[in-house]
Symmetry: D2
Subunit: 144 residues, 4 copies
């Protein structure tokens, strides 16, 4: 789907908000792509982000998926908006084994109050992505 952003500065807004998130810095996540309704977040593997089998912890997979879905929503909101996750559901499809992870956030349905978006997380060991999680989220706009 193609969306037209209501704020031409949407990419700066997303980048500025992302930079203030302590957690994204703690885990080493970076913004890889910011387009209208589409935000990708990348994360290299690290030993301290694991669950008991040394795969990426489901909560870390969730963190980048939720953030990607939320920033995809924010990219379509008017200037001065902030975004909050009302709720989300995530299915962890496979063990998150890999050297690098990318969460692709995509808006499904933008709205004045509520935006619905999804995110899919892929694990990379070589060049072939493995689909490790899918998230479906409800986001709400906050006026600044």
């Amino acid at each position: 789907m193609h969306f037209t952003p209501s704020n031409p500065e949407f990419a700066d807004v997303v980048r500025a908000s992302f930079a203030t998130q302590g957690l994204m810095q703690l885990i080493g996540a970076t913004l890889e792509r910011v387009e209208p309704g589409e935000v990708d977040i990348a994360l290299p593997y690290r030993d301290d982000l694991t669950q008991q089998h040394a795969f990426l912890h489901g909560a870390v997979t969730t963190a980048i998926a939720d953030s990607a879905a939320g920033y995809a929503a924010l990219s379509l909101m008017p200037a001065g908006s902030e975004v909050l996750s009302v709720e989300f559901k995530i299915n962890l499809l496979r063990p998150a084994a890999g050297l690098r992870f990318v969460a692709q956030g995509r808006v499904i349905k933008p709205g004045k109050t509520i935006t619905v978006s999804r995110a899919d997380v892929f694990a990379y060991t070589d060049e072939n992505p493995v689909h490790v999680a899918t998230l479906l989220a409800t986001m709400i706009v906050q006026k600044g």
Copy 2:
């Protein structure tokens, strides 16, 4: 509800698994209570666990909620089992403002293959808990 654990060593199993989770150590979470079908996880506030408004990041709230729900499920599983989150949904009810957070995981329906559990997260600034999130999860047993 009262559940009878099938493994009398359930508390040791839960504590041993928790100790191997890099992420729980990274964020500073601790096991506060382990009973049959009931596990509480506590987390002190830290600046690097925040979202853009200095509240606890939704992904951190989710991390302790998912872990509490998963370990509540594991506490009822036979010896030699491990637990995986198939999926969960979380509603973030209020900004997670507080000095300390407790996720209360509770089994709703144990099963041979699938266990359904929930978790509620409370924020404490003084002695009065504030309900900040509720999670509903599907867990699956893994034979060791």
Copy 3:
């Protein structure tokens, strides 16, 4: 939890809205209880409400659970409001075998825009309820 309704006529509002739902009549569901933040919906078993094993169809279980959760939310909204389900998740815990089903809708967190509520569905063959489903929903107010 105890809630104070903002509209003293809340029970009439819920009953009037329920009466206009073609689907609730089609399946034979009735409002059994309407209190502030709490609505119960009852449904007798019928052969044409089944899935392939002659248990109550998951979609029918869902229909009464979603309605109970939605009307629980509506019971706390100001006069002139209507309620819409933004989304919900349901776990079908056991086969819905029984002669009569009751969905208990309960508000978890009321709000000006968003209300989060849950519903639990119980099946009755004799006097002992069997917990067959649990639903967690996000409701939004619509101004009339």
Copy 4:
């Protein structure tokens, strides 16, 4: 995605199971398309399938979405299998206004025990589909 069915009779299995569902007959739903990992279910509008604004009731939208997701999963299962919904989440994106509705069920991740699938529901008044709901589901195989 392209999937190879493990049972060459998959389409007959899906059609036979669908035919036994009292609820699908009650609401007038039909199987429109059965391919490996892909099942579409169609439903004409009817006055008795409505909520209070004469749109299709969310529970009916959910019924066809859940069935499409479940039968998409069943289409990839070995001979003799049956499918049960463990849980699902649905976002109701827009009022379900239309003369005809189609739920497109698609498998995201097949598995020996657990299959994850999604469904999208579209409303048709003329030839242009309107996306009214998206569902994400966890299905479990039952050996016959």
